[in-house]
């Protein structure tokens, strides 16, 4: 067992929840992609993408589910097609090509929703067509689907979409519960409960979103500090991720960060928790 500073050891003893301690999956496998999308790189809480639909459609849980699932479908399919066509699409013209693919799927979903779920279609309004310019979809196309194989990209889309859906449902649950006293249209709070109107309005969306981002940061930074083998970059480029202040904005490149004495990690130790 290597030398550690005693304060850190005491901190580790508290054994808080850390998902990466239990879940070890192969990189880019379907399961890893889905867990990555829901937890480690949750598009709303960790990547902070797709803020417009997040803030606008989370006034009720029903809307959040509709928005999340339709985005999931479009995200998975567009990721799949972009990945299939990634060798055909010229590098310099990739953005217009991606937009054509995404817009096709959005149009399909738009018509399907108009035909089969007209009430949800009318309550989501302009936000369904706006999925075309959703940052999550463009972001995953650019960052993942354009560089990986079709199956991986498809599951990345599913994972990211589910992460988006979960995030929307969480935010909408808090907003609807406090702002209306209901959950998914069901009366939850007692009749004497006075709804706090501001949570249904835009300021409430910002408040609840900020709260969730803070909680996620606490979990993930805490996990990074406690868990030797968890490394957001997957590369172990720096000496020590645990005490790095920039752990969640890691660029994957070494930083000139002064390593505290006694905590330096040598290559043969990586992955092994004493």
């Amino acid at each position: 067992m290597r030398e550690k500073n005693p304060g850190l050891r005491m901190y580790k003893k508290r054994r808080r929840f850390s998902l990466s301690r239990y879940v070890r999956l192969k990189k880019n496998s379907p399961g890893e992609r889905i867990i990555n999308g829901i937890y480690f790189e949750n598009p709303v809480f960790m990547l902070v993408l797709g803020m417009c639909p997040t803030l606008a459609t989370t006034t009720s849980v029903i809307n959040a589910v509709g928005m999340g699932l339709s985005t999931t479908a479009i995200l998975a399919l567009s990721n799949l097609f972009i990945s299939v066509l990634r060798k055909v699409i010229p590098q310099r013209m990739r953005m217009p090509c991606y937009i054509v693919i995404i817009a096709s799927f959005v149009t399909i979903v738009d018509f399907l929703m108009e035909g089969f779920t007209p009430s949800m279609y009318s309550s989501l309004g302009v936000y369904i067509p706006l999925i075309v310019v959703n940052c999550i979809i463009m972001g995953r196309a650019e960052a993942y689907a354009g560089k990986h194989r079709p199956a991986e990209s498809f599951f990345d889309g599913i994972g990211m979409g589910l992460g988006f859906t979960v995030a929307l449902i969480l935010i909408a649950s808090v907003r609807e519960l406090i702002g209306c006293g209901t959950w998914a249209g069901l009366q939850v709070m007692p009749a004497a409960y006075e709804p706090v109107n501001i949570f249904v309005l835009a300021p409430g969306a910002f408040l609840v979103l900020a709260m969730f981002v803070a909680i996620m940061n606490r979990f993930q930074i805490g996990a990074a500090r406690r868990d030797d083998s968890w490394d957001p970059t997957g590369k172990f480029v720096c000496a020590d991720c645990r005490s790095c202040p920039r752990i969640l904005n890691c660029s994957g490149k070494p930083v000139d960060y002064v390593v505290p004495a006694g905590t330096a990690r040598s290559t043969d130790e990586k992955g092994g928790d004493a």
């Binding site: 006075e194 706090v196 109107n197 501001i198 949570f199 309005l201 300021p203």
Partner: protein, 354 residues
């Protein structure tokens, strides 16, 4: 002797007055209006004031204990925030609403941004607007209990009942109310805002004790009075001067100008900045009251200007001694230097084979 010539970084002149002393003074200055509020609106007003102050202090204590931070309850800032929240409540409010407001003010607006000195807007006003948006019906209910001094509920010199909830809503129509009762404070309104007399006494006490300067309230009230006078003249209201005085005394303007706009944390520190801030407040309040559809606009005006404070401070930053005269010459030299550097760079690029 050699103590006098110590070398250290600025500030070199230090005041002996502490944060808790300042906050105690502010709380003391708020007392006349609190007493007036209790006299006008009865014991429920006292309950509201005590509850909001206690919940504000309690929230701060519990939050800092839970997060293992140094407990700053003793500096009194939470007490002042709580008092101001209580003074901003209508007299018939449910007891738990000011408590919710106090928790929001302390946790969300003050502590999440780093505690005392770090909040970007006035906590009490932030809480007031939070409650106004959340519980619009209850916050606009100005029915009152009976205090020791009865309040005026009808337009003096007529038999008309007061149209609108407060005198301010009545003034909005361009008619005159009774100036004496507006100044004394026995009219409908929030607990601590009605008595212009008590608020003026508190504000002037703070000025006399050099806790605040006249710049912000002076510029604020002056700008607002001037704009209102011009509007009243243009719209042809009866006796514009009296109308302006009534607008000054009605609603939350006095409370806002003397106690909320002058909050150290959320107002500019430069002299010029404070005047700009006051003038902006006056203009915005005039826009909200005289141009907009609502009757009251002091709290939104102050919150909006709170957000402008960093910009105001940036543009009113004082120039270091000796620099001002040289600035034009220095700028010209700088521009020439830049041009030269650009030319050299361009020449350099040309020489290199592409």
């Amino acid at each position: 002797m050699n103590q006098r010539f110590q070398v250290s970084s600025s500030p070199h002149t230090r005041s002996t007055i502490s944060t808790s002393a300042i906050m105690f003074m502010v709380a003391l200055a708020l007392m006349p209006s609190c007493v007036a509020g209790v006299l006008f609106f009865g014991e429920h007003a006292l309950v509201v004031l005590v509850l909001s102050a206690a919940s504000s202090v309690g929230t701060e204590y519990i939050y800092e204990k839970l997060l293992h931070k140094p407990v700053t309850v003793k500096d009194g800032s939470a007490l002042v925030t709580g008092l101001l929240i209580g003074m901003n409540m209508p007299p018939a409010i449910d007891w738990w609403i000011p408590c919710v407001g106090s928790v929001f003010a302390i946790v969300v607006i003050k502590q999440l941004y780093g505690g005392i000195g770090q909040n970007f807007m006035n906590p009490a006003l932030g809480a007031r607007c939070f409650l106004l948006i959340s519980f619009a019906g209850k916050m606009a209910n100005f029915t009152t209990g009976t205090g020791m001094i009865g309040i005026v509920t009808q337009v003096p010199a007529t038999t008309d009942a007061l149209s609108g909830a407060t005198p301010l809503a009545y003034l909005k129509t361009g008619q005159l109310f009774d100036l004496r009762s507006l100044f004394f404070g026995n009219t409908a309104g929030c607990i601590g805002e009605t008595s212009a007399l008590a608020l003026l006494a508190g504000g002037l006490f703070l000025v006399a004790m050099k806790i605040i300067r006249l710049r912000i309230p002076g510029a604020y009230l002056g700008t607002f009075a001037l704009l209102t006078l011009i509007t009243a003249l243009l719209r042809g209201y009866p006796s514009p001067a009296v109308y302006t005085l009534q607008q000054l005394c009605a609603g939350g303007l006095m409370l806002g100008a003397w106690f909320m706009a002058t909050d150290y944390v959320t107002s500019p520190i430069t002299a010029m900045g404070q005047i700009v801030y006051g003038v902006l407040l006056g203009i915005l309040t005039w826009v909200f009251r005289m141009v907009g559809t609502g009757a009251e606009g002091v709290s939104y005006a102050i919150l909006f200007c709170n957000l402008l404070v960093p910009i105001i401070e940036r543009y009113t930053r004082p120039v270091a001694a000796g620099v001002a005269g040289q600035s034009r010459e220095a700028k010209r030299l700088m521009r020439e230097k830049e041009k030269e550097a650009k030319r050299l760079k361009a020449a350099d690029r040309k020489e290199k084979p592409v």
